[in-house]
């Protein structure tokens, strides 16, 4: 800010920020202050290369103070120019000029740096002042405002919020009726003065007395925007000529919202919600380790950032080691606009086996605000020697079912096989049963359905039995019975074989019918002769030798063979 003094008139220019992102508007206030400003015109705005003037507004205020018995009056005329720069670079706003009372006034040039960046969202300028100006004008000389260190943050990124009381009048008996409150953040208090300490501050070119009410560091929890709720004070306003003894009023700040940006792509599985800059080290007492006896592994994370909010690095699960959720201790202190300190995570690790065991490396990652990237770090692995537990292997181990492996069981020397030996062979009898019953059923069905087939099945048995019987008759030298049986056998054979009712037929008819059935011709005389001889022997009781009976049996077999 530059101030030029000529007699009793002050002509100043100020800018609300010296660094702005491309595309974001900023405000240049040109203020004329003096005892008497009647008839004064608007200052001449310079041409500004690379910067565009979006518009301007004019406001005027008159202040009459009665201080120490003396009445003073001052008038302030403010011209606000809203400007915007469309490209990066270092710019100089040339002097504004004013002609008044025959004098020429000029402000000093103002430098501004325009940088690449994201325009602020939902961040009003110190708007309380403007609001009051554009409304009733009431209390415009007293207001509350928040000074916020950043316009947007990542989850977990710290930002400082300072709540100030601004006044241009004398105040008395200031009571805080509503404390500052925030939403979606973790709060670390930096400063809460018990006594207000006023100092000079200029907003939009207007000088105020400013006192800090509270200063906090906020850490966004998640990606929801931060909401800064209004604070309210009850204040006695004194020194106004229209209310000499003062007037009690309640003044509130505005609700403010801070954008919380999502993390850039590339978030890692090992991310422990740490935002800032951190280092890690490990501390472990690995002497005299025993199975089932827990020992501590401490991971100490040191650095600056949201140290109170980070979660524990994940301990890789292994069957050789078990662990539980770690205990954590934090020690931190405010340093500038962030927290510095260290956080200790203590893991109680229980070895489950003896020998050289490797504690696997632990991967973890934090978000580096400065470079806006995730940074991965690893610590470990470590090798430890674990001795067997002195309690292990005892009888008590049997009772450890569902907690540990079961105790060894005695071996009795018996062998248990997975499957019976020669397993497929056990199915053979059943298969045989099935085959036999199947064959039986098929045969039975065929015999039942085909008379010829059935007869053919019967003939061999009949012949076999018949011949056996005839041989017995020969042995017993019983010619009558022999020829009777021979006749029956021949007739039965002819009946079964040729489906003839041979038992009721004459010999001549049988021979004739057999001839019709195209049996070998030369066999028919033999058959006829056999039948006739049989008849003769049966009816004449002719005595025959065994030799003759054997010869007739042989002939009978030849006949049957020929006819079969």
């Amino acid at each position: 800010m530059v101030i030029l003094l000529f007699f009793s008139l002050t002509f100043t220019a100020s800018i609300d920020r010296t660094t702005v992102p491309v595309g974001e508007s900023f405000n240049v206030s040109v203020i004329i202050e003096g005892d008497e400003l009647s008839g004064i015109g608007e200052p001449e705005a310079p041409g500004i290369p690379g910067i565009q003037i979006l518009g301007s507004s004019r406001s005027q205020s008159t202040q009459i103070n009665f201080i120490n018995g003396k009445l003073t009056k001052s008038t302030s005329l403010t011209f606000d120019y809203q400007m915007i720069a469309n490209s990066e670079g270092e710019y100089t706003i040339p002097p504004f000029s004013l002609k008044y009372g025959g004098q020429h006034y000029e402000t000093e040039p103002i430098k501004i740096s325009v940088k690449k960046g994201v325009p602020r969202r939902n961040v009003p300028p110190p708007a309380v002042y403007e609001d009051r100006e554009t409304r009733t004008g009431e209390f415009r000389n007293v207001f509350l405002d928040s000074d916020i260190s950043k316009s947007s943050v990542y989850p977990g990124e710290p930002l400082v919020v300072s709540q100030f009381l601004y006044t241009k009048v004398n105040l008395g008996d200031i009571q805080l009726t509503s404390s500052p409150s925030y939403e979606n953040v973790w709060v670390e208090n930096v400063e809460s003065p018990t006594r207000l300490d006023f100092s000079r501050a200029t907003i939009n070119g207007i000088a105020y007395q400013r006192a800090l009410l509270k200063r906090d560091i906020l850490f966004p929890l998640g990606e929801k925007d931060i909401k800064i709720n209004p604070i309210t004070i009850n204040v006695l306003i004194r020194g106004d000529m229209f209310s000499f003894f003062g007037e009690r009023k309640e003044i509130s700040s505005e609700t403010r919202t801070i954008l919380v940006k999502p993390f850039p792509p590339g978030r890692l599985a090992e991310f422990i919600d740490a935002v800032g800059k951190f280092e890690i080290r490990a501390d472990m007492d690995s002497s005299n380790l025993k199975v089932d006896s827990p020992f501590p592994l401490r991971l100490i994370v040191k650095g600056e950032g949201n140290i109170s909010l980070m979660s524990a690095p994940k301990f890789p699960e292994t069957r050789k080691l078990t662990t539980y959720d770690p205990e954590s201790k934090v020690s931190s202190q405010v340093s500038g606009s962030t927290l510095k300190g260290e956080r200790t995570f203590t893991y109680l690790i229980t070895p489950k086996v003896s020998g050289i065991i490797e504690i696997p490396e632990i991967k973890w990652a934090y978000f580096d605000i400065k470079n806006e990237t995730f940074v991965t770090r690893t610590i470990g692995p470590w090798q430890v020697r674990v001795k067997p537990s002195s309690e292990m292997g005892g009888e008590g181990e049997t009772a450890k079912i569902n907690k540990d492996i079961s105790y060894v069981l005695p071996i009795n020397g018996k062998t248990v096989s997975l499957m019976p030996k020669f397993f497929p062979l056990y199915f053979l009898p059943s298969i045989l049963i099935l085959l036999i019953s199947g064959y039986y059923v098929l045969e039975a069905r065929k015999i039942q359905g085909d008379r010829g087939y059935a007869n053919m099945k019967v003939i061999p048995r009949e012949l076999k039995n018949g011949f056996r019987k005839l041989e017995k008759e020969i042995a017993g030298n019983n010619p009558v019975q022999f020829y009777e049986d021979l006749t029956r056998l021949l007739l039965k054979f002819i009946k079964l074989k040729f489906h003839m009712e041979s038992f009721g037929m004459k010999k001549i008819d049988i021979i004739s019918e057999l001839r019709d059935k195209k049996v070998p011709e030369q066999i028919l005389p033999l058959l006829q002769e056999l039948l006739e001889r049989s008849e003769t022997v049966r009816f004449t009781s002719l005595k025959l030798e065994k030799k003759e009976m054997t010869g007739d049996l042989k002939t009978a077999k030849e006949v049957i063979n020929a006819l079969y």
Binding site: Y407, V408, P410, I433, V441
Partner: protein, 234 residues
């Protein structure tokens, strides 16, 4: 005399193995237990004890391998089931019928199912024969109910036998610290996942020294066969 000598030898060796185990000398205990295997002795208790030695030595893949071998012989053995549960808990099938059936099957060993199958097949063959003969000859016997009951028994036995036989043919365990599952039977293929020691699954196919496997998670891939072992070797 020979029997008494063998009994004395067994009881002596058993005591020695147990003593070594109690002292925490697991590799010595293991060597003692392996003597039983050399003698051709196989039992769930022996597999359990060998698995325990491997477990205490931190060789979890081998440990689970032997527990599983014991489980195949005696699936209802509480000690073996407890030790297997330290490694994995197989989730029940969401289908209540299959879950119920699996629970029943898991209580009966392959050996018992083999006997069931032999008995049920014999009974079924008899019932079928009677029923067939009844078609051609009058036999006063309730063949149909018998056939139905024998058929049910046979189906149950066959299902149980098939499930266990499938397990015997396919179940494997990772025996190295870790192995990698690839998309094809070579290290040149895409790496799908890292599989830890004592993971288990079922074998689908072999291709040279590579196995196409299924994991319990439902995922699959090719693993180097030297990093895993079949629970029941060929």
């Amino acid at each position: 005399m020979l029997y008494i000598s063998l009994l004395m030898l067994f009881s002596q060796t058993s005591l020695s193995a147990e003593e070594c185990y109690k002292k925490g000398e697991y590799s010595e205990a293991l060597a003692e237990y392996e003597k039983y295997l050399d003698k051709g002795i196989v039992s769930p208790e022996l597999y359990l004890d060998i698995g325990n030695c491997y477990y205490r030595m931190g060789n979890f893949g081998e440990s689970l391998l032997y527990y599983r071998r014991g489980w195949f012989l005696s699936p209802g053995n509480e000690n073996i089931l407890n030790n297997i549960s330290l490694f994995s808990k197989e989730e029940a099938n969401p289908n209540p019928f299959i879950s119920f059936f699996t629970k029943i099957i898991d209580k009966i060993s392959l050996r018992i199912f083999s006997y069931f199958l032999i008995i049920s097949f014999t009974l079924l063959a008899i019932a079928v024969s009677i029923r067939l003969i009844q078609k051609v000859k009058l036999i006063n016997f309730p063949a149909n109910p018998l056939l139905f009951l024998c058929g049910l028994f046979f189906i149950f036995s066959l299902l149980g036998f098939s499930v266990w036989f499938g397990r015997v043919k396919s179940k494997w365990v990772v025996t190295t610290e870790t192995t990698i599952a690839y998309s094809g039977p070579d290290e040149e293929f895409k790496e799908l996942m890292r599989v830890d020691e004592a993971e288990e699954g079922s074998l689908v196919r072999r291709d040279g020294g590579w196995w196409l496997v299924h994991f319990h998670s439902g995922q699959g891939g090719w693993i180097d066969s030297t990093t895993a072992a079949m629970v029941i070797p060929k």
